[in-house]
């Protein structure tokens, strides 16, 4: 079985992001970029399935400008066998990305596609579900455990009330939650080896999809800041303030 993993290049999670002074975007031009953390978990899960001999090949794909090759190489250093860049300089929306990925799924016919549940920049949490719809495959979103069998995959999902387990017929689409695994660090020999692994480039325009934006960001502002309040000296003072000043407890 082939596993396709989709990854996104995003601003590193340690970077404190602020709106630009013109209020049109965020100031990230010079910020450090990384693989989106949820996508890194997706790469790790695919590599573990290959190590457990449940997959033959792990292919990693990213949609974006040439800069995404850096993250594709990182994913190959973590254990992916080869990479595909769907090349575009445009910022695509989740629907367009899902369409591009659907075209790659059509070419590669993977048994599983694993994606992060959301990217930490757009916070949309849409692409995996949309890819599942476009390819008419079942979806196991927010996965915290996968058990792959011959014809199906059992997915434990993190849902609001606790955990839910579904059985999905293969081929299937999975999106990862935080507790699925802890990604490894790439070793230096593997980083060197990754430089020689194949990286194919496909022009987005060759896939024949409609990638025109349907939603436009017109302004970006900082969230309303909370003001720090007061320090109380004792538990008794705290209880008094909550009862008599804030009036939030009886």
């Amino acid at each position: 079985m082939k596993i396709l993993v989709a990854i996104k290049r995003v601003v590193d999670y340690n970077v404190k992001v602020r709106p630009t002074s013109d209020g049109k975007g965020v100031d990230i031009a010079n910020a450090k970029k990384s693989i989106n953390p949820f996508c890194e978990i997706a790469v790790e899960e695919a590599v573990r399935l290959k190590e457990a001999k449940q997959a033959d090949e792990v292919i990693v794909v990213s949609v974006g400008a040439d800069a995404v090759q850096e993250q594709l190489r990182t994913a190959m250093a973590l254990g992916a066998d080869r990479a595909i860049q769907v090349k575009t300089d445009a910022e695509l929306e989740p629907l367009a990305i899902a369409k591009a990925l659907a075209a790659i799924v059509e070419q590669e016919q993977p048994g599983l596609v694993i994606l992060g549940k959301q990217s930490i920049d757009g916070d949309n949490n849409q692409t995996g579900q949309m890819l599942a719809a476009l390819t008419n495959r079942p979806q196991g979103t927010f996965a915290s455990e996968l058990v792959v069998n011959d014809n199906d995959v059992q997915v434990t999902r993190e849902v609001d009330g606790g955990l839910q387990t579904l059985s999905l017929s293969l081929p299937a689409i999975i999106t990862t939650d935080l507790r699925l695994n802890e990604p490894r660090y790439a070793s230096l020999p593997n980083i060197m080896k990754a430089k020689r692994k194949p990286l194919a480039v496909t022009e987005l325009s060759e896939l024949g999809i409609d990638a025109e934006p349907k939603v436009v960001i017109t302004a970006v502002e900082a969230p309303a800041q909370r003001k720090a309040g007061i320090k109380v000296e004792s538990v008794a003072e705290l209880v008094d303030k909550l009862k008599n000043e804030a009036k939030v407890i009886a």
């Binding site: 601003v11 992001v17 602020r18 965020v26 989740p94 629907l95 899902a98 920049d121 757009g122 916070d123 949490n125 579900q129 949309m130 599942a132 719809a133 079942p138 979806q139 979103t141 915290s144 059992q154 999902r157 993190e158 849902v159 609001d160 009330g161 606790g162 955990l163 839910q164 387990t165 579904l166 059985s167 999905l168 017929s169 939650d177 935080l178 507790r179 934006p213 349907k214 939603v215 436009v216 960001i217 017109t218 970006v220 502002e221 900082a222 969230p223 909370r226 720090a228 309040g229 007061i230 320090k231 109380v232 004792s234 538990v235 705290l238 209880v239 909550l242 804030a246 939030v248 407890i249």
Partner: protein
């Protein structure tokens, strides 16, 4: 210009986030229909009919919808969405799972997690873990939105009942099936619906010490939450996590105990009306958002607090 709201429920009772979603819907149109898809879900339909602002309740009662899997509900939405300009779902794990799948079938780019309706085509939503708020606008003929429940008040109930229409489109789903679930059993209120939330972090040191929070929670009628650090350390299960990747809460009172206040945690609770922080590190970032801060060892402060309540 009517709106379809997708009700979240467990076939017996309506989930609270649906009420906040209905409020967002009433800001878009006076015609708000609510979809209840499930099996033997008449009680849910009756509850929805009593919500103020609801015009019609559309009930699809079939074993096919028992677990409301996206593989059967998304095609159902595609069938019935043609009558609506807007389709709204709560931005819960249920809504986030379903709505994008339906949107792709309709060739729509959905808008996730809206916190404000500016006008009929313009919305505000948080990006970058809430570090920025984007204003987005779309001229799509149909708009699919998920609604962050903490940003809208729950719709009140009304004396009269909206008409309930039973419909029968059953969509079979061969792709996925339900195997089981582990639902946390608790007599305490649900995190996202509680008026008071008390949460513990890494400072709690272990799961047993959470009993200090449970005692106080029971006196206050509060729900108990946790930071990601506490969940990742295995102190408590993941469904208690408050934060960007856990639950977003905005209670009247949020008490953070032994929580440093990482940005990911703040993103899940900073819209609470009153925030209390108890931490022995006076430089902890949680104090920057707390209305009342107490610099103290939680193992002496919590028993004292329990005593005084």
């Amino acid at each position: 210009m009517s709106v379809l709201v997708i009700a979240e429920h467990d076939n017996k009772s309506l989930k609270g986030a649906t009420l906040n979603t209905i409020t967002a819907a009433t800001q878009l149109s006076e015609q708000v229909d609510v979809l209840v898809a499930g099996t033997q879900c008449a009680d849910v339909a009756a509850a929805v009919a009593k919500v103020a602002g609801v015009s019609n309740v559309l009930v699809f009662d079939s074993p096919a919808y028992e677990h409301q899997l996206a593989e059967s509900l998304a095609p159902l939405l595609k069938e019935i969405a043609s009558d609506y300009k807007y389709v709204l779902a709560p931005a819960t794990t249920f809504g986030k799972n379903l709505l994008p799948r339906a949107a792709a079938l309709l060739d729509c780019q959905p808008i996730s997690d809206i916190i404000e309706v500016v006008d009929g085509t313009t919305f505000k939503r948080p990006i970058y873990a809430g570090n920025a708020i984007a204003t987005v606008t779309s001229q799509q003929s149909k708009l699919l939105l998920t609604v962050r429940s903490t940003a809208f008040d729950p719709a009140p109930s009304q004396d009269s009942s909206a008409p309930i229409q039973n419909q029968d489109i059953a969509i079979t789903n061969e792709l996925s099936h339900f195997v089981g679930e582990q639902v946390a059993e608790s007599d305490r209120p649900e995190l996202t619906a509680a008026n008071i939330v008390i949460s513990g972090g890494r400072g709690m040191q272990n799961g047993d010490n959470f009993s200090l929070l449970y005692g106080i929670a029971d006196k206050l009628g509060a729900a108990v939450g946790a930071s990601r650090a506490a969940v990742d350390s295995g102190f408590v299960p993941n469904d208690m996590q408050v934060g960007q990747t856990g639950k977003i809460v905005a209670p009247d009172l949020y008490i953070a105990v032994g929580i440093s206040g990482a940005i990911q945690h703040l993103a899940g609770m900073k819209d609470s009306k009153v925030i209390v922080a108890i931490n022995k590190d006076e430089d902890a970032p949680i104090f920057q958002v707390a209305d009342y801060g107490l610099v103290a060892d939680l193992f002496t402060a919590l028993p004292e607090l329990n005593e005084l309540l």
